[in-house]
């Protein structure tokens, strides 16, 4: 995965949606942790697919990238890659800086 850009440039008109968006990502992170703990790769694939679609749409490109990695890795049951990705996702959510334009 390329270097992570911790600055998300978000369209100004999406500002009202962002608090809920971030809250849902935190819940998503919990779901990812639960799924990897249970070895539920089908659930991980679905969660990754959803992240891939929604991240970039809002201006959070790394979320889409994490999603793609998780979805692809879940298809081949690559637990190690997913573990690393979940950690990186947690770090991203904790440090991301949002800029509205």
């Amino acid at each position: 995965m390329a270097e992570i850009n911790y600055t998300a440039v978000v369209a100004k008109d999406l500002e009202d949606l962002i608090p809920v968006f971030i809250k849902n990502r935190t819940k998503e992170l919990d779901s990812l942790k639960t799924a990897i703990g249970a070895g539920d790769f089908e659930q991980l694939k679905q969660l990754g697919h959803r992240m891939k679609g929604v991240g970039n749409s809002y201006g959070f490109a790394p979320i889409s990238d994490f999603g793609k990695t998780i979805e692809d890795s879940a298809k081949v049951s690559d637990k190690a890659t997913i573990d690393g990705c979940i950690s990186a996702y947690a770090d991203y959510l904790a440090n991301v800086k949002i800029v509205y334009e």
Binding site: A11, D13, L14, L17, V20, F21, N24, Q46, H49, R50, K52, G53, V54, G55, N56, S57, Y58, S64
Partner: protein, 376 residues
Amino acid sequence: MTEAQAPFRVLVVDDDPDMGAYLGLLLKKEGMQADIVEDGDSALVRVMTDPPDLILCDVMMPGLTGFDICQRLKGEETTALIPIVLITGLDDQESRIKGIEAGADDFLNKPVKREELLARVKTLRRLHETRKELERRRLAAEVERKEAIRKTFSRYISPRLADRIMGDADRSGDIFAKAQRSSVVALFADLRGFTRLTDRTEVGRVVEMLNEYFSILSEAAYRHDATIFNMAGDALLVGFNVPFPQADPAARAYRCAQEMLTQFAPVADRWESEQGIATGVGIGICMGEAVIGNVGSPHYMSYTIIGNPVNSAARLMQLAQPYEILVCDAVYEELRGIIPPEQVEARGDVTLRGRAEPVKVFSLRVPLPQHSGGGA
């Protein structure tokens, strides 16, 4: 709010509430109405109860997928024309092929770029609105065409028969457009004594009386599903078994004639008490092959019936006394079972003007118990 001002309504179907909210926001900013549902079953219910103008639908959802929704809606006549945009991954070629097979109108890539979303939606909106406008014009033209045909029909036939013809959408345009040859029963009715009456009556009153007379006869004709072909002077020509075949045209004609006489009798009594002159209706009925069609010139067309039965019915009408129905033998044969013998009198062979062979003629009397003038 008028239809022109009504917002374009988009149904967004996505199990991810963040994607639904994102798409909804972008559409609302463009002045569209966005309704968001999170699963396929809710989408189908919403479409059936409140059809949108466009559907944006995610492909991968728990339960019904975007393909399933697309296939169901495109398979229903009432929803097949609603455009559906499937939202798929950019690299998901397989989904695109499945989407095309399911009937999707367009695709949108995930992640969704707002410029692409709005461009696609606007294009589909234009197409949809053009399609709706064409459909509106087609329906308006259809209503106009039917109304024109109904107006044409109503000159000749009862509203009940007009409704029946209008219900037969495939044939309604042809009924009066094409000439036809068929077996018909022609009934001619004529008002006797009216010429003398007109000599003594003020002209405005004469028109009122004629209108009253023709109203009674036309109502009777309509009640028995006759087609009115001609009103001239004080004579009326109607036909049965035309434009549609009737199971019992001769019996209908007889009952119609009966009703004309019984309904007119009290009016004649009133006229006689007012004006001092007796009037009555004489009727001739005959049946046979005739030609029916629109005849005339570009300046004046008339739905007309031509042939021997019409000529013979006219001659019989001339021979009939007031309150007498004269019928040819072919008509009498059809009526033999329904008319009491005491009401029938054979008039023997009568040579009718214009016919080479004599015709057997029968006089049918109609009981008119309350009529001061009496029957034939």
